[in-house]
Symmetry: C2
Subunit: 190 residues, 2 copies
């Protein structure tokens, strides 16, 4: 019994190692560098063991993405609670969101651009994903006015997401980023 427990423990540890290796590799060298062979070498196991933990490479990326939502939610929560007033909270949370995307581009890509099949708008949203969204919603609640909070949050979120993705892909000049961010916040925080 105990030996079986150790087995399961080691197996769980290895699974965490896979996700950690994928995340670190992606953040340091980009997702193109994250191959199953490279990942296997990193955890010092052979390639097929990856498939005993995850259905495929996409599933590994999805696991990395979920971890990303934990970090994002934490960043947003910190920005929100530290803000002086409700209006400033919107600006600070927006800045924190943009900073997260800027600081962890590979992670952000996994969360929003690359991984498609993460359940989002359904009943079984991963709890960490929901928490990040809830953090945004709480920030916007005081300024949403008569509009439906969920719709309001989703729309504001879209604005943030559009800003960071278009900028990161070179569609928007980085120099004007702060002005765009301020403009977006101004539109939604009054």
């Amino acid at each position: 019994m105990s030996i079986q427990a150790r087995r399961e423990r080691e197996r769980a540890e290895r699974e965490r190692a896979i996700v950690a290796a994928a995340r670190e590799l992606a953040e340091s060298e980009g997702w193109d560098a994250v191959t199953t062979r490279r990942l296997a070498a990193e955890i010092e196991y052979s390639q097929p063991v990856l498939y005993s933990h995850f259905k495929g490479k996409d599933a590994i990326m999805a696991a990395v993405a979920v971890e990303g939502f934990v970090d994002l939610a934490a960043d947003l929560a910190a920005a929100r609670t530290a803000a002086i007033d409700e209006r400033q909270a919107v600006a600070d949370v927006a800045a924190a969101y943009a900073a997260f995307a800027e600081r962890r581009p590979a992670l952000y890509d996994a969360m929003f651009t690359l991984t498609v099949y993460l359940p989002f708008a359904s009943q079984d949203v991963p709890v960490d994903v929901a928490r990040a969204f809830a953090e945004l919603a709480e920030t916007l609640r005081p300024v949403a006015g008569g509009d439906d909070l969920e719709t309001y949050t989703e729309t504001f979120w879209s604005g943030l997401h559009g800003l960071v993705t278009l900028m990161r892909s070179g569609r928007l000049r980085r120099a004007d980023h702060d002005r765009r961010l301020a403009l977006l916040v101004d539109r939604f925080a009054r």
Copy 2:
């Protein structure tokens, strides 16, 4: 001399055929189905001829993307000029933008998500790309108020882009799309 002209004409024709095949294949079966071998078979030439026209697959996708901007600019222009008043124009153009992304998902991906190295925020922006952006800017000019028009346009554009990308990747429920769009327009059109 004339025979050389025919050569160049045929070559240009073949190049157009490559881009057209890539676009049609992407729109009917998705970009995953667009492989260089499949493309070569479609134009009834061998694989390497593709590389005498384009530097690589990315360059072909970029060419498709540029074509997409022509269509998008046309859609936006039509929506703008047909609108009753300036405020309605913003709503109509936004709807046209979202409809374009919805109707041509593969094309939209090529324009914004997949192709990275299309020059955008620099001096040599492709003219068709600039036209699409200008169409948006003209629509927003009457409602931009004291804000810088370019910043205003970029921010609104980001909102639209965020809405369509998050929805298409399953992050937003499709049912509430119209409400989000109306909310975004409301924030920017008054």
